[in-house]
């Protein structure tokens, strides 16, 4: 199985660890880059690939946990902590802040690899989701002002007649807007359109049951 579509970043000030982990990843045919400090890692221009950050807690320039809290969410790949001196509070804190795992040295290679795979999968999913949202946003941006007024009414489940009355336009005109929206947002069906609107976090202002604006 080839994993060349992903990358692992290793940050540990002990060169022996970096060396060994890189070697282990190589046996899985995985790319890795090792750094001895956070500063070196931050300075590195990372390739746009799903990845994982294997981070030592005790680093010369900054504590790994500190770095985790400080760094902006989503800017770095999911973290797998490794430490020579693990304690429960640190591990709980790390997991709460979104770390994939917290491994105490010496750890088994399979444990590490499992965590790395989870991390990479998670990164890949979030990358896809991020990409889809970007596409939908671009499509939404192509809607006219009127179409943006129509969209919440349609996904809110109002009948064409009701929606047209709401906007003070004819039912025919509304139907034209609706089909344009369907086309622009590349929605296959009304259900699909509702799902898209949900992803785009379009607020539903009216419901068919009341026919009046929801409070």
């Amino acid at each position: 199985m080839t994993r060349k579509d992903s990358i692992v970043f290793i940050v540990d000030d002990d060169r022996r660890i970096c060396e060994a982990l890189s070697e282990l990843l190589a046996t899985w045919d995985m790319d890795s880059v090792a750094f001895n400090s956070i500063a070196e890692y931050v300075a590195f221009s990372r390739p746009d690939l799903p990845g994982c950050l294997v981070l030592d807690v005790e680093l010369p320039d900054i504590n790994g946990l500190e770095f985790q809290t400080q760094s902006e969410h989503g800017r770095h790949p999911p973290i797998v902590f490794i430490t020579g001196h693990g304690d429960i509070p640190s591990s709980v804190r790390a997991i709460k802040h979104g770390a994939v795992d917290f491994l105490t040295k010496p750890f088994s290679g399979s444990d590490l690899m499992r965590s790395i795979h989870i991390a990479i999968d998670r990164d890949r999913d979030s990358r896809l989701e991020r990409a889809e949202r970007v596409t939908l946003q671009q499509r939404l941006a192509s809607l006219t002002t009127r179409e943006r007024e129509v969209l919440p009414l349609v996904v809110g489940g109002l009948l064409n007649k009701q929606a047209a009355a709401e906007l003070g336009i004819s039912e025919v005109t509304l139907q034209i807007h609706r089909s344009k929206i369907m086309r622009k947002l590349e929605a296959a069906s009304l259900a699909d359109l509702v799902r898209i609107a949900e992803k785009l976090q379009i607020p539903i202002t009216h419901s068919r049951r009341t026919g009046t604006p929801s409070k």
Binding site: E19, A20, E23, L24, I82, G84, K105, P106, L112
Partner: protein
Amino acid sequence: MVFLLGDGVQMSLRFTAKRPGAPDRTGRALRDIVESMPGLAWAAGADGRLTAMNADLLEYLGIAGVGDFHGRQAVHAEDWERTDGLWSRSLETGQAFDSTHRIRGAGGGYRWFRAVARAQRDRTGKITGWYGTLVDVDDQKLSEESLRSILDNIPGMIATADVDGNYTYGNNRNREFVGKDLRELSGRGWLDIIHPEDRDGVAAAWQRSVQTREPMDVTHRLRRFDGEYRWFQARVEPFLDENGKVLRWHGLITDIDDRKRAEESLRARERELQLLVDTMPSLVWCVTPEGDPAYINKRLETYYGRKMSRNRSAEGSSLSASLRALMHPDDVAAVEANMQHALRTGESFAMRYRNRRADGVYRWVDARAEPLRGDDGRIVRWYGVSVDIDDHKKAEEALRARERQLQLLIDTIPALVWCATPEGVPSYANKRLMDYAGLSFGPPEGPDRTELGEAVRNTVHPDEVAAVMGHLTHSLQTGESLATKYRHRRADGVYRWVEARVEPLRGDDGRIVQWFCVLVDIDDETRAQDALRAAQEKLSRASQLANLAELSASIAHEVNQPLAAIVANSHACQRWLLADPPNMQRALITSERIVRDAMAASEVVSRIRALFTRTDSTRAAIDLNEVIGEVGQLMTDEIASEGIVVETDLDAALPPALADRVQVQQVLVNLIRNGIEAMKANAGVPKSLAIGSRRDGGNMVVVEVRDNGGGIAEPARIFEPFFTTKDGSMGMGLAICRSIMEAHDGRLWAESLQPRGTAFAFTLPIQLRDVA
């Protein structure tokens, strides 16, 4: 005696008796008169021959008739010639005869007589005879003689002068004193012997007296025969007749030289006394027995700023009033009362009161007066002295105030104070001490009892009495100050810890004047300190445990690091071998790494074991300079690759240290590597590492490694376990480095340097000779 001389009778100069019975009628008549006259009378003829004597004369002479009279036999031999001459002259000139001489009486004795005769003349003026009388002047003569003798012998000089002021007589003393005879002195000759300085004055005074007939009284100096001048007082008065006309001048000249000199010396002494009284730095005054001021000296006048009349007549009371006005109004009554008491009883007067000085300021004076009593015991005068004691008094008051303040201070300061004489006898204790100990200090009760010993036994805890006494005795003997702690009994019987400090106060001559002792109750502090010490001991044990925990964490870290690498490498190795086809080359590389890391772990473990076994056998005298050289050699590549300049400053005379060579090497490597790491980020600053060694104090040597890197924010924290450098095979935490140094009885620490960099230094004990 009257000589009746007959008419025309030639009378010889000799008193020879005329033959009686000469027929002369007139002569007979006259003869009858003579013979019948009372007193002694006689008559002589013109030729001078005696013609008649009356019965009284005949009786005196003891002859029967005038014919029996022989002048040369009757008149005293000494007087004969003079008398005969006078008679002859009278006969020749016809002038009256007047002679005083001695005539022998019937009994053979001589008596003085004055013989006076006048010529009897006829109508033509021719002398017809002489009639005379004899008056017995013997008594008068005798008194005259004695008078002359008195004049010549009285202890004074007597002189007379005529109406014109010319010297006519001077008594013997006068002449003898000046050594001149009458002739030389006569007229104004006497002026020559008056002292030149006095001469003109005397001459003028004399001239004035002569003109005005006023008496003269002058003092002047007279030259004695031997040329010496002496002082005399000359009093000259005119002798007047009944018409007020001056007959003569009588003068008495008295030697007053001694008196004059005495007076002068007296005056000089008086002047001196006056000067003394006026210049004496005190105010001198004098009052009458009635209390009226009689005299005040110049100084007092100056003091009051007003001229006091020294005249003690009627204004005495006004003077006393003005003196009273100079007193402070509050003191007047008391001064008056005291003064009156003294005047009444004659007791000495002594008082302090305020006087107003010339500048209007009232100042305190100390006035004292003593009475001077006359021979009869009555008080003649009161003599007083006033001394301005204002400054003194003010100083005294200030002193007293300060003393009060000090007393207050000593009594209120929160310390127990006592004093002792140089011999150690307690002389004072402040109120606080007396209250504290519940004691009362009094004078020693017995001559042979040292109160110090008593006081110590009474107040010091029985366990410490001997020690405290020993300290005190030592201090008293040597004069050394003392600081000690002991338990002091409080009034309630509780012993409390006090800190005692004893210091001697020395006089200018260095001798101890007094001992001062301050006791401070430190009981609470002492207890607090004990508690603190206990807490510290507990803490120390806790800290040892903490150190152990830290150390074990550090060890775990040191060992886990290579173990983690080993595990990872093992997995890699397995996977290379399980691959299809197996990657033997990579498997080999990883297995080599496994061996290497396992060795590193084992090294760490053995090092730690060595550290904890603390075998002194590995310790030896090592030359630290040599070790520094070895380590430098070992790290040459690393240093060179980083472009670091190493400076060494090694003490050539560094004594050998007692240490484990390998461990010291490891620590040094660690420190140098730290420095290299610290300088990695140096941009624009040349990397420089300084290594030095030197002796530190008596028994230690110091090795220092200084870098000029970015420095560390908290030098103390880097010794915490996770600050270790985990780079390279020799990597060891600073915590372990420190443990190593402490195991060697040395220290390891870090300091930030200015403007940049860090210094790591460690000490090691010197190898002492006797240990080797």
